[in-house]
Point group: C2
Amino acid sequence: MNIRLSKLVTKTKKDAPRDEAAKNAQLLIRAGFIHKDSAGVYAMLPLGLAVLNKIIAIIRDEMDQLGSQELLMTSLQRRELWEKTDRWSDEQVDVWFKSKLKNDTEVGLAWSHEEQMTEMMRNFVSSYRDLPCSIYQFQNKLRNETRAKSGIMRTREFIMKDLYSFARSDAEHDVFYKDMSDAYVRIFDRLGIGEWTYMTWASGGAFAEFSHEFQTITDAGEDIIYIHKGKKIAINEEVMTDEVMATVGVKREELEQVKAAEVGNIFNLGTTKSVPLELNFTDEDGKVKPVVMGSYGIGPARVMGVIVERYADEKGLVWPANIAPADVHLVRLGDDPAVVKAADKLFEDLKSAGKDVLYDDRDESVGRKFADADLIGVPVRLTVSKRTLEQESVELKHRNQADEKMMKISDVITVLK
Amino acid sequence: MNIRLSKLVTKTKKDAPRDEAAKNAQLLIRAGFIHKDSAGVYAMLPLGLAVLNKIIAIIRDEMDQLGSQELLMTSLQRRELWEKTDRWSDEQVDVWFKSKLKNDTEVGLAWSHEEQMTEMMRNFVSSYRDLPCSIYQFQNKLRNETRAKSGIMRTREFIMKDLYSFARSDAEHDVFYKDMSDAYVRIFDRLGIGEWTYMTWASGGAFAEFSHEFQTITDAGEDIIYIHKGKKIAINEEVMTDEVMATVGVKREELEQVKAAEVGNIFNLGTTKSVPLELNFTDEDGKVKPVVMGSYGIGPARVMGVIVERYADEKGLVWPANIAPADVHLVRLGDDPAVVKAADKLFEDLKSAGKDVLYDDRDESVGRKFADADLIGVPVRLTVSKRTLEQESVELKHRNQADEKMMKISDVITVLK
């Protein structure tokens, strides 16, 4: 985002709320990226929304490249739909929030969308010619988590990218599943956590023998996984058996146990949804068959939390350039008219060059300004002061490097491009 | 959006669901823009989401131009917050959906955000230097409507743009309120309904003597208003008294009674939220004062419904160019290799020229293709066939005009720009 900090609605804080245990939420609250409403319920403030939207844009780009089509389903869910797949009762699914219409009809608030998507697609899939296809959304999920203690990594409410694929056969499904797992690898690379993110064999739950999670190594994670660095593959502790190691083709002694956080998952649903919800198609051979489905999730805010955990240092947030709330944090020191003029001009020039700039034009001390720049974590800090102007320069500092250096003002635009 | 209709997940339908009474929803369902899940609950399919996103982009642009900052609050609401303003009980607010956390704590699903926004701002407003400011969001509202019968114009779930302003004094508030009402006029102009949209004096509810609604004349509306065409102002039936006519400066005989649909509203909240929720600031004179607030809503999907009602004809949807799901509906007739080649090339050329194109490359009859183009309602239809190619031409038809005309293929890009 482009803004003068004197105009920014939010402010940095010295302290996080006492009841906030997670590093990611502590820093994001202090830096003014999120607001904690209650346990597991966080609002995205302007800086946080800017980061979230950049993460969403990267995910959307990869989904669109696979030819998937975006739509937006509803939070309100009909009971009868979920009863058909035996996922309505609180015994079967323990994260439901439920409510009632005025006429006492019970409704659910969506924690996922397999059932609604499957039923909706009955309107559009009837022949083999309608397949394969896939649809996705970024939609606000509500999950009644018993505990919420990992900051924005596990919340009661969050936007989720959920994609659903529809295929004519297991073989056709497998092709898409592979394309999607490749897309997930690209997404986490672009988000700056590819190096630490492992496609991980995990339990398939009610649907299949296995699912695949994308797990990012971090001490803040809630899972234990066993990674194979050479093959860039892992096994979740929950399915870590000799049999699974044989299936994956790894040996116990090659694996390393680490803590990790799930940043994405892909599920082979088979026909477990299409059979009870009657999503069928007539194949080329004239036979009516159930559609083979998959579901593929990523929680952009959870990914944001993991990125904070991986990159932040003792001074604050550190954002990878791809998803930073701005490209440049421009600091003006003092209110000497020449300094104000030069900094204002640089702000405009950077914007004209297509850069997003947080411009610290506030009447604050040097210490406070630099501390805030470190806390907010924009990749590049540029400082304009009387001292730098004497050399017709600005001071340049990268957030992830210790040293500053002087640079001619006339070179700034060229160098930052 | 840019897509080949052979790949589009949705399909047009001959009939709308029998239980759908509203023209807007009937047409949008038949054309594949929305999916009806249950009464008052509609999903946005790819074509519908494309329109909705264009409406949202126009509103966002106008809010940003006023210097307002976007954020995203939560659907989950704490009971104690709304009790402070006496808006928790179902007697006071009859559209709540409520649910419970695992520990039996009651939570609400947001139907509006005054309370949460006001409390959140206590973190960032303490001095007169922090004011004035405003924040807004596009957020999914849930409202437990008893009846839902106006299609997407009144639903149980919808994205709302809600903006909240914070000022030091009534005078400062009034300046922003005027700026915002001017922005609303620009928005409805850009959305193609400015001509029929009147700023309307309405009840201020619990907050103030009056509020202002933006009402668009349409037979599908739920309100009766009295319009003054010369002054481009109106009075809602609910406050239509001699006293109000005097305040507005109009006479009964100058007014015309019409049916209208509310497409936006702006509220002077005064200090009715800041006092109970203790959002105060220290003024320049050292005195602690409550912040003066306003709230400003627009429901993009409701606006979409009103646009459908105003523009659609007996053949289907008719979109204003600004918010159409695509710029061009390209129809290929037949599968002669030369026709396929020419149409494919035109599809690519139009995309390269920055146009969004629905490309009907399906194996369907001329009648079906033209009927679908009319139903979907993209402003410009281009047809490529053997016959048009004999003249190195395409046939051009505007959705809102009766006549077709031939145009040289080599001229298409220039003319459409």
